[in-house]
Amino acid sequence: MSARDNILARIRSARGAAAASAQSDLAAIDGRINQHPVGTRPAMHWDQVPRFREQCVRMSSTVDEVASMRDVPAAVARFLTEQGLPMRAVAWPKIAHLDWTGTGVTVEDRPARGDDLVGITGVHLALAETGTVMLLSGVDTPAATSLLPETHIAVVPAGRIVLAMEEAWARTREELGELPRAVNFVSGPSRTADIEGQLQIGAHGPFRVHVIVALS
Amino acid sequence: MSDQKLRVGLFVTCLVDLMRPRIGFSAIKLLESAGCEVIVPSAQTCCGQPAYNSGDRASAQAVARKVIDEFRDCDYLVSPSGSCAGMIRAHYAELLAEFPQQRAEVERLAARTHELTSFLVDVAGMTTVPGRFDGEVTYHDCCSGLRELGVKTQPRDLLGRVAGLKVSEMGTPEYCCGFGGTFSVKYGEISARIADRKCDDIASTGAAAVVLGDLGCMLNIEGRLKRRGDTKTRVYHVAEVLAGLDED
C-alpha cells in the first residue's frame, strides 16, 4: 500500500466512510465546486475607483489617473521624471505598443531581467477592496516584469476594477475558464518587519509601485 | 409583576470562604439591597474547577453533582466570581455529559447561574448601590467573567454609581493577570511575570486601588504588588466596594 493509500484510508476510517465514496459525498463535493458560494463578507458599499485609489495609497503605492490609455506614456514619463528614475523600462507587449514617441521614455517589449530597474505591466483585473492588482502569467504577460525591477508601474483600465477577490474569480471563470500557471495578486511594494518588528518597505519584490488608472 | 422576591442562592466560592469572608457578606448585602431573598446553602464547598482544569474529570464530576443538589431550590445561583459562575454556566454541561439522566437539571442550573455584578445589573436591575468610595480606581477584567460570561460593562456600570468613586481604565484591562488556577502554582515564575505586567499597567493609572471580580486574580495581583514593594495600591473585590468597605 502506498503512502497515498494509507493516508486516504486513515482519513476515510476517521470519518466512518467506506473505501468507495458514497454518491452523496461526491455530489456534495461537486455541488460546492459548481456553486462556489461566496462566504460572509463585510458590506463593501463603495464607489470602486475612489476606493481602489484610496486603498492603493494605504498599501504604500502611488496612484495617478488619466483619461485614457493614450495618455499612459506621458503619465509614465511624468512619474519617472518626478522620481528621478531612469527613462527606460521593460513592458508587456500591450503597453510597449502604446505610442511612446516624444515622451523620452525608452520601452522594450521583453520580460524583465535581474538588472532592469523599471517594469510596466497591465493588469487582468484590480480589486477595489484592498487596492490590489491581479496579474495572470502568460505569453504576453511575463511575471518577472512585476517582480524583478525595483519599480513596478501597473496600468489599470477603470473598467477592469472589480469590487473584491470573489468578483475577480467570477469574472475570470467567465473570461478564461481555467486559471493560468500563475495568478499574482499584488498590493503595493514589497515589505518586511522581520527585524525588530519594524516595517521596511522594499524587501525582495519591487520597492516602489505606481498605479495609473485609465478612466476609459 | 409579582412582588415575590427572587430567591438567590449565594455560591460563595472556596477562595472567598477561606480567604475573604467579607466579600461573601458584601455580596449578601448587595443582593438584599437589590430586593432578593438570599439563601446560603450551608454545605457548599467548591465548584470543581481546580479538578476540572487539571484533567481530573471524576473528582470534578463528584463535586459538581453536589453543587447541583445544593442549589436545586433556588431561582438563581449567584457567585462573586466569574470563574466559578463560568465553570457552572459554561462547563458543567460538558463535565457532566457522562450523566445524561441529569442533563436537564444541569442545563437548568447553568441557565440560572450568574456572576454577581451581571446578575445585579442584567437580572435584578439594580440602580443604587450602598457603598461609597472617595478616590480613583481601575478595574481588571477577569478572564472567565469576560470571555465566558460577557461581564464587562456591568461592574463598571455599578462602580459608576458609587458616590465619590472614579474609574480610570488601565491600558489593557482585559489582559490576563497570570493566575490561571493551578498554573500559578505549577509555573509560578511565568505566572508572576505575567502578573508583573498587570501591576505595571495598574501603576500607570495612578489609581489608589484596583478593583476586580475574582479571588484568584485578587490574591495574585495583591501578592505581586506586595512582592514589588507596593504598599499603597489597594486591591478590592468589586462586591466590597459596591457594598461599602466598612462592611464586616
Binding site: 459525498d25 500557471r181 525582495h204 | 470562604d17 469572608p21 479538578a51 484533567g55 490576563c176 506586595k226
Partner: protein, 465 residues
C-alpha cells in the same frame, strides 16, 4: 525523527531572565496590529464563523477534497506526492533534487519542513540550501530555529543581525534596519537568480483548480516559485480548501489576524509548471502532501486543531508566549496552537508541560480566525494526561483528597478553618506570607494572608440568634 521536549520550565526560566529576549518580546506587538486590522470588519464574528465552517467543510470530507485537488493539479501538470512521515518528506525532496541534478536550493518559508529538519537532510546530501524569507534567512545564518511562525527572527535584534551579516556577507557593519534589509535584498537576489530548485510551503491547496495558494509580504514566495527550474511545495493534508471563493473568505481574516493588513502583499496561485510559450515558470512543479500525525486527529476531540490557518494570532495574544517567546516551547509551533499540536504530533508523554503551561484565559480563542477552542483542547490534553497516568502522584493525590474533602462539608469546614487560622498566624502583622514551601506561587509573589475565619463559620454564627 521526533525528539521529546522536556525542559520547558528550564527553558522558560532562561528566557524570562534573558534581558535581550525580554526586550524583544516587549517590543513585539502584533496583537495591537490585529486590533487595528479588524476594525473595518463590522461583521467580524460572522466572518469568523464562515471561515471556521469552510475549514470544517474540508475536514469533513478531507479524503475527497484531497483527491479532487490531486486530480485537478495533475491534470494541469503538477506532480503530487504523499508523505506519511517526516522522513518521507525528506526522501521525496532528495529524490527530486537528485533526479533533476540541482545543486542550489532556495526556500520560501515552510513550517512543515521545519518539522522534518529538511534543510539539514538536504545539506547532509550535499545540496546548498538558502532560506529567502528575511526572518528565516537570519535564523538560518544563526544556526537556529524560528521562534514565531510569521516573524521567525523576533528574538534577534538589529545588532544580532548586523553581526550575522558581517560574518556571513563579509560586508562593513550596518545597524540601520533599512540598510540591513537592503543588504539582505541584494544578497538574496543573487540566490533567487541562481537557485535551481525552489521549495515553498503552501498556505492552502485549492481543490477546485488544483492550485497552490501562497501568501507573502516580501516577494520571496513569488521568486522561489517562478525563477528556479524546479518548484517543490510542501504542505499538510489539512490545508486543502474547496473553492476559490472559500480561500478568498479566509484570506480576509488571515492577513488581518497575522499582521493587521487587509491583504498580504503578494497572494499567488500556482497551477502547474510552465506552459508552452510561457517565458517564466518552473519546468516541473511538485506538491508534497504531508500527514505526519495530522490524520490521527480526524474524528477525535482534537479535530478542530486542524482548522488552523497558521496566522500566529493566538501566540501574539498569549500572555505566556509574550513573556517566554517561541523557543521555550521546544518544537516547531509555539504559543497556544503549539501547545495543542506538539503533544498530538510528537506524543503526549513528550510534551507534558505545554498544555499545562497556560492560564486558559482564552485570549487566543477569541482572536482565532477559525474559532479553534484552544483552551478547551488544552484542557482535554490535561485530561488525557490524567487518564494515561502521566501526572505526578502528588498532584493526583492532592486533587483526590481535595475532592474527597469537598464532598464532606463538615470535614471541609474543619480543614478550611484550620488553614484560615494558620494562614492568618503565619501572615503576621503585615498579613503577608512570603514563603509557601512546595509550590511555585511564592517564587515571584507573596501570598496575602487569609482573614482568619471562614465565611461558612461566620455565616453560621450570624444566623444563630
Amino acid at each position: 525523527m521526533n525528539a521529546p521536549v522536556p525542559g520547558f520550565k528550564a527553558r522558560a526560566h532562561d528566557k524570562l531572565n534573558d534581558a535581550k529576549i525580554q526586550r524583544a518580546m516587549k517590543n513585539f506587538n502584533l496583537a495591537a496590529a490585529r486590533t487595528r486590522g479588524v476594525a473595518d470588519l463590522e461583521n467580524l464574528e460572522d466572518i469568523r464563523t464562515a471561515a471556521a465552517s469552510i475549514r470544517d467543510h474540508s475536514l469533513a470530507r478531507l479524503d475527497l477534497w484531497l483527491e479532487r485537488f490531486e486530480q485537478e493539479a495533475t491534470r494541469r501538470g503538477t506532480q503530487v506526492h504523499w508523505a506519511e512521515t517526516h522522513d518521507d518528506i525528506n526522501r521525496i525532496v532528495i529524490e527530486i533534487a537528485r533526479r533533476t541534478a540541482v545543486k542550489k536550493i532556495i526556500k520560501s518559508k515552510s513550517m512543515v519542513s521545519e518539522e522534518s529538519h529538511l534543510n539539514a537532510a538536504l545539506e547532509a546530501e550535499g545540496f546548498q540550501v538558502v532560506e529567502t524569507d528575511l526572518g528565516e534567512y537570519i535564523v538560518q545564518l544563526a544556526g537556529e530555529t524560528p521562534s514565531h511562525i510569521i516573524a521567525p527572527a523576533i528574538h534577534k535584534n538589529r545588532d544580532d543581525v548586523a553581526d550575522l551579516f558581517v560574518k556571513h556577507h563579509g560586508t562593513p557593519r550596518k545597524t540601520d534596519i533599512g540598510e540591513l534589509t537592503m543588504e539582505a535584498r541584494k544578497f538574496l537576489r543573487e540566490h533567487f537568480l541562481s537557485g535551481e530548485m525552489g521549495i515553498s510551503g503552501g498556505n492552502f491547496l485549492i481543490a477546485e483548480t488544483g492550485s497552490l495558494f501562497l501568501v507573502t509580504n516580501e516577494g520571496n514566495g513569488r521568486m522561489t516559485t517562478t525563477l528556479p527550474r524546479i518548484h517543490v511545495a510542501i504542505t499538510g493534508v489539512e490545508k486543502v480548501v474547496p473553492t476559490l471563493e472559500d480561500v478568498s473568505c479566509i484570506m480576509r481574516l488571515l492577513a488581518r489576524s497575522a499582521t493587521g493588513q487587509s491583504i498580504s502583499n503578494y497572494v499567488t496561485l500556482n497551477t502547474g509548471p510552465k506552459r508552452p510559450g510561457d517565458t517564466d515558470g518552473p519546468e516541473e512543479m511538485h506538491v508534497i502532501i504531508v500527514d505526519a500525525g495530522r490524520t490521527k486527529l480526524l474524528g477525535t476531540d482534537m479535530q478542530e486543531a486542524l482548522r488552523c490557518i497558521r496566522c500566529g494570532a493566538c501566540m501574539n495574544h498569549c500572555p505566556v508566549y509574550q513573556n517566554i517567546g517561541g523557543h521555550a516551547y521546544g518544537w516547531v509551533y509555539p504559543g497556544p496552537i503549539g501547545s495543542v499540536l506538539t503533544p498530538n504530533y510528537i506524543g503526549l508523554e513528550n510534551a507534558l508541560d505545554l498544555p499545562n503551561a497556560a492560564t486558559l484565559c482564552n485570549q487566543c480563542g477569541v482572536v482565532c480566525p477559525v474559532k479553534i477552542p484552544l483552551p478547551e483542547l488544552m484542557r482535554k490534553l490535561r485530561e488525557k494526561q490524567v487518564d494515561r497516568g502521566l501526572r505526578p502522584w502528588q498532584e493526583r493525590l492532592g486533587l483526590t483528597l481535595w475532592a474527597w474533602a469537598a464532598q464532606r462539608p463538615v470535614i471541609y469546614g474543619w480543614l478550611t478553618g484550620i488553614t484560615a487560622r494558620a494562614g492568618r498566624f503565619f501572615g503576621g502583622a503585615d498579613r503577608t506570607i512570603r514563603r509557601l514551601p512546595g509550590n511555585g506561587w511564592t517564587e515571584g509573589r507573596d501570598m496575602p494572608a487569609p482573614a482568619g475565619k471562614t465565611f461558612r463559620e461566620l455565616y453560621a454564627k450570624r444566623k444563630q440568634p
